[in-house]
């Protein structure tokens, strides 16, 4: 499956799509990127007059790249948006740096296992300066609706 095709198959759309590109992908890892827009909807309230990307959104971005994109690839053609859905089932995350509006982030996910349609990965997020933003473990499951 081609990298561009995977993003087309994602079950998300704006304003909740946090994947711009997949840079690398194979059976063991994925590397992808997203640039947070200056006018993402959550900056209005997080925080008042001090826009910073919420940690849950960073986690979501890591899950969309490291779980959803990677999982669709690992399902090797079985994925069908009409029939299948995904759910994040656990996450454990540490955050090291804030991400401001307009910043680009890179997410790398390394597979721990993919069994019975459950994918568990070690994930890291870096900013454009190659500084660690967040690091943790996420797991999710793909299932027929």
């Amino acid at each position: 499956m081609k990298k561009e095709d995977i993003i087309q198959k994602l079950p998300y759309s704006k304003p909740f799509l946090f994947v711009d590109e997949i840079i690398e992908i194979d059976d063991d890892h994925i590397k992808g990127g997203y640039t947070f827009l200056n006018d993402e909807y959550f900056y209005e309230g997080h925080f008042k007059d001090n826009p910073i990307t919420p940690g849950v959104i960073l986690t979501e971005c890591m899950a969309q790249i490291g779980m959803a994109c990677f999982g669709i690839y690992l399902l090797k053609g079985k994925w069908d948006e009409g029939e299948w859905s995904v759910a994040m089932t656990s996450s454990e995350m540490n955050f090291n740096k804030p991400v401001f509006p307009g910043e680009k982030v890179i997410v790398i996910a390394d597979k721990v296992y993919f069994r019975f349609n459950k994918l568990k990965c070690n994930v890291v997020m870096y900013n454009a300066d190659d500084i660690l933003v967040a690091k943790g473990v996420v797991a999710g499951i793909a299932f027929k609706k």
Partner: protein, 84 residues
């Protein structure tokens, strides 16, 4: 391996994934992982993977789908051990 030994090993495996500790205290053969122990379906996968490691067996999709109770899990493990 006796059924008691198997049960005690299974109990150790499931313990980290149990959300309802009362259910764990009252563990019987009829205990249902999801209903009685409130293990989520994603963590059932972890239970199955830990069972594979502990007993050195391979669980396929069909067997995995059966492993929803203590009784069914013990049956699957006993069967896989027997054909090993």
């Amino acid at each position: 391996m006796t059924k008691e030994e198997l049960l005690s090993k299974l109990k150790i495996i499931i313990t980290p994934y149990v959300q309802n500790q009362e259910g764990l205290k009252n563990l019987t053969e009829n205990t249902d992982f999801i209903k009685d122990l409130e293990i989520n379906s994603a963590n059932l996968v972890d239970v199955v993977l830990d069972v594979e490691d502990e007993f050195d067996i391979e669980i396929d999709n069909e067997a995995m789908e059966k492993m929803l109770t203590v009784k069914a899990s013990i049956e699957v493990i006993e069967h896989k051990l027997a054909v090993k």
